[in-house]
Symmetry: D2
Subunit: 362 residues, 4 copies
């Protein structure tokens, strides 16, 4: 009834050239010449697996601390990972921004707000308070701090030592899709007090308890800071439970917690997922491929990460980037602690998520 399909490649000809010129002139592009790139059999990201060394990053940040003032206009002394596959853009992946931010003694990063979601993760140091909507949040080693979209925030270093930490945002995604708004706030932080815990934590960081005065579901987690002591305890328990023969770990020797929004049980912010992973010495994880990209930072320990065909030895503070669908395998030489963040909530919300795990290799 219908004719069978034929090979779709048109023969080169003067007429075809003319047609293509007509397309170009009218701002048109044919699918048939582009489909292999546009619609591949599986994700073929431009972004590349890559690793950055903490002991390279930190000296550069310190040098920036000497040469580059922090203040209104530049806003932050933040130095972003630029994926080698993304043409020099300051993007760790097409969706994720990852930067080392550096604040010298007594320095202040002024207040502003933006629709981009942001967090901080502290691999070392202390002495800085992030002030979120007037609530001062102490930053200490191992802590994970939130500044969700459209919350005013600034940072100030109250101590005599500089401090550097990891900033994670969805800047590339927001920039690409065109949803960015920004407003300047106060030049100084709006509350210079230095409490041990933020008011947000005092209200919200109690396991399974929420204030009766606030019972709605919130887009973003109201917990301003997830403290290391809790993260560490939760991971320790998972490994202890495993040792006792009970479930809880992701796979043998591999404990992991996800930072969550206590008002929904979901991710801390609508575009960003954050987790902390701990591997016993000697553990080799299953190889995992996942739609969406991730950035990892080693918190402590030593190990090897294989990303597709490439491999890096990693240690304290080192960062590595996993583009979409690139297979990841971690191997722990010592106990290995890693912070991880990803864009998975985007794909889950849009039903574009897919995961493939190959049997653990231990």
């Amino acid at each position: 009834m219908t004719t069978s399909t034929t090979d779709a490649t048109p023969l080169a000809s003067r007429e075809l050239d003319e047609l293509y010129r007509g397309f170009e002139q009218e701002r048109l592009v044919p699918l048939w010449t582009e489909i292999g790139d546009l619609m591949p059999l599986h994700p073929t990201p431009a972004a590349q697996p890559h690793a950055w060394r903490w002991n390279t990053l930190l000296p550069l940040a310190e040098r920036a601390g000497e040469l580059v003032p922090v203040g209104r206009g530049g806003e932050r002394r933040a130095i972003a990972l630029a994926n080698p596959g993304l043409g020099g853009a300051p993007y760790a992946t097409p969706t994720l921004w990852a930067a080392i931010q550096y604040l010298g003694p007594r320095e202040v990063a002024p207040e502003h707000r933006h629709t981009q979601n942001a967090f901080r993760f502290v691999v070392e140091g202390e002495g800085v308070w992030t002030v979120v909507n007037g609530d001062p949040v102490a930053m200490r080693r191992g802590d994970f701090l939130l500044t969700p979209g459209w919350n005013f925030h600034g940072h100030h270093n109250t101590g005599d030592q500089p401090m550097a930490w990891l900033d994670g945002l969805d800047i590339p995604f927001v920039h690409y899709t065109g949803s960015a708004f920004f407003e300047f706030g106060a030049d100084a932080v709006s509350d210079v007090s230095t409490p041990d815990r933020s008011r947000a934590e005092r209200l919200w960081a109690h396991p399974g308890l929420r204030p009766v005065s606030q019972t709605a579901q919130l887009t973003n987690s109201p917990i301003a800071a997830y403290r290391w002591e809790h993260t560490d305890a939760a991971l320790t328990e998972q490994l202890d439970l495993e040792a006792e023969g009970h479930p809880g770990v992701v796979e043998p020797g591999h404990a992991a917690v996800r930072y969550s929004n206590p008002t929904t049980g979901g991710d801390v912010m609508a575009t960003l997922r954050a987790e902390f992973h701990r591997l016993r010495a000697g553990t080799v994880t299953a190889t995992r491929q996942e739609v969406g990209s991730a950035v990892w930072q080693v918190f402590s320990g030593r190990g090897t990460v294989r990303l597709g065909e490439r491999e890096w030895q990693v240690g304290h503070g080192d960062l590595f980037v996993v583009p979409s669908w690139v297979p990841v395998t971690l191997e722990a030489e010592t106990e290995l602690n890693l912070f991880r963040f990803s864009d998975a909530p985007i794909f889950e919300a849009l039903r574009q998520d897919r995961v493939q795990v190959k049997g653990q290799q231990r």
Copy 2:
């Protein structure tokens, strides 16, 4: 206690140059030189407002019909709108693909499936059946047809006349974020029958009724085709209700329906919104800015569209593109019927949506 903020622009110097070289070498980019572009006060899309003329597009498509075979490999004889601001990429906007697809008499576009969500909108003609997972769906003027992600589909023209229609997909978004999967299917369509209505419609296209055999929420609408007769009737009723003094229209003289998923009440697919708008002759809409981008096609009538500073007279089949946050105003010279699709579900799911409407100007 804390020092006041200072101007953040570092002075040019040899040391600074050296620092920047260090950054480059280590695949790093400072925020302070990029922030104005990366984090603007409001969306500043690279995509530009633009219009394409149906009477330019169609002859080019017809010429392609003569020169370019359709079949396996090229897969579809589709010619995509390439936004002038996006460097020649076949993208209507950073997230949306819009193409005119052309199928000659008796031609077949082979079956395949992909994770990209797709639809067809028919501005004129008939005779083609789209076969979705083995269910043949007739295409007729005014119809809106779905081929959601990961459903096998092919097209075949059963008649003696060529047919051209609008394809809409989320290809640019899926490509950018790296979630594309693709599989080839049968070379011919898997069911060559030509029923008036698809089985999906027979099961699902009854107002407010769903089969008891299928009560789960589905990611994508199970209604394979939204027929023009229903769309037209719904719009007619809205304007009649307005004339009788009752609510229903979006604003005076402006009726609109959203194609929806009857199992959720939400959008037809997770990344794409589709609507049909009808303006009475003489109506001028309020000016609307919205996060996210849209493509419109005039179905019938004549009018003027203002996109920011630019303006186009538009008529049957003409297409225009609205980048994120660009103000849109429509003015109907005659009764004006328009199909519209957008990426709004992405922003709503991720809580990045924002809308601003300035009082109707009539």
Copy 3:
């Protein structure tokens, strides 16, 4: 380590009597004497399976039409099914109210509103309009009409013939749990016009289309009336699809549609589910047990219903009641059409739902 458990029945004694008197005096009741009744192995409802004959009900309703005025105070000339197991209460089941309502020529049932959800199903007749928040809704054979909680509504018969129909509400549930509110409205209906279709239908009863002016999820379906022509067409299609070898029916020979809320895909109201079932002549359904209770009304045809150990021959207008967990089997002598409503949304919302189906017996 711990002692083994022992028989829990205490020995009768003077001391025990004294203890029990103490309990009674202090408004206490021991669990151990009640647990068998309170916490049975499976639901043991007090309500009984029962059937009511239309040709018994209708004459009684007609007689009430002669003797009992309709108006403010009594509000409605409605006669409720009183389950034989529920001690004379006007309850079809512990949660459901089912009544025949009767309105003579030119009679008016005044407006009021209440938090109880209500619907009407029309087994025969026409000429009455239900006015819901000022929107007149015609009642005709086969139609299913909604008056969700807290909407003002009244009825008036515009014709020369009396009309009787089925009212369904969640009165017993609301009464038991204590959430009832009620307000009187106008003595006459607020709009005496008699349009063929309500404004609600004109806005909402288009398959898969919703007005862009109203995009929120609504607790209750905005479709005021589900017309017989649509229900009939949907059922016809399911059986045709079955005959052609395609899925769609619940089980062989058994088509069914659920009335749904187009803004959510869920049930029409938060406490009530409504469906229409059609069995081909000769079909015997699988035997189904379900947590929660249901009321069925035969719309047309003849058949047999088995409820647990009991069995009834049923025909036009006959009603029968299925208490929780009572096995139901239907057998169609002729083509059999049945309306059904139940309290299933209550159990699904509270995760107390459970269903068990025994293989179809055909």
Copy 4:
């Protein structure tokens, strides 16, 4: 056009008597004689406000400990509050069960499971472990423990002292609506170990952290025990924040936390809400009316509770019951700590919830 409504009361007559006899014979009840009771202007619960004294309850429980064995058949030595308005049924309210359960030294309450949701709240004592699906959960003063529907559970007292605590369940609701299932389990508890914390807590009771191995939404909270130390700390923080001028309390002098499901942010179980309230000495709460019923138990302190027209002085361990829509006002003589549970999730899920608060009277 339509006739005006008339008084709806029919005149007494022989014919009317005959009609009513006909109704009775056919298992029918007219609405017009029942509507005032069935559909009141606002909730008029049969249940009454009532209070029970701990120092009356406890001696009766102790006496039951001497006379009544605990074991298979009776299952639990639990003594239920029987609301004076509910005809002697063991129901605190139409939906809620509240009982004092008593376990002597070394006694065991055997394992079983049921669809009813259950919890324990410990007003004093320790030494009992509740074993939930094989996970031993220590019970200590101030703790709130879950045994959600269909989880096997038993209790055993490992110490030399008896222990009594509050059991809360949805037994009356489940019984009325007919959704009860029950299964017997082991006669002894399945794990006799006596860990300080349950495995469930070790996995789940970390603020804002969840195991990556379990990321689904769960119907019931996986936190087996909410420990007093966390509840106390959260309440203390709320009052401290208030003293410092920050939000967090429900109203001046009134702190409250809701026990929540960390996988959803919602209530701990689908039918039961549980909260803990703390009032500063001298605080008088606003008067609050709420659809649905609640049971309160004083944990510590002294005060007055006004329920509608009635008033009780209450102290340690005393229980009081608030039927639907009865106004509640609490006045704290000393610092007053109260546990509260209610059926609010039922009404919220079914959109029957309504709350009215009259300005605080302090």
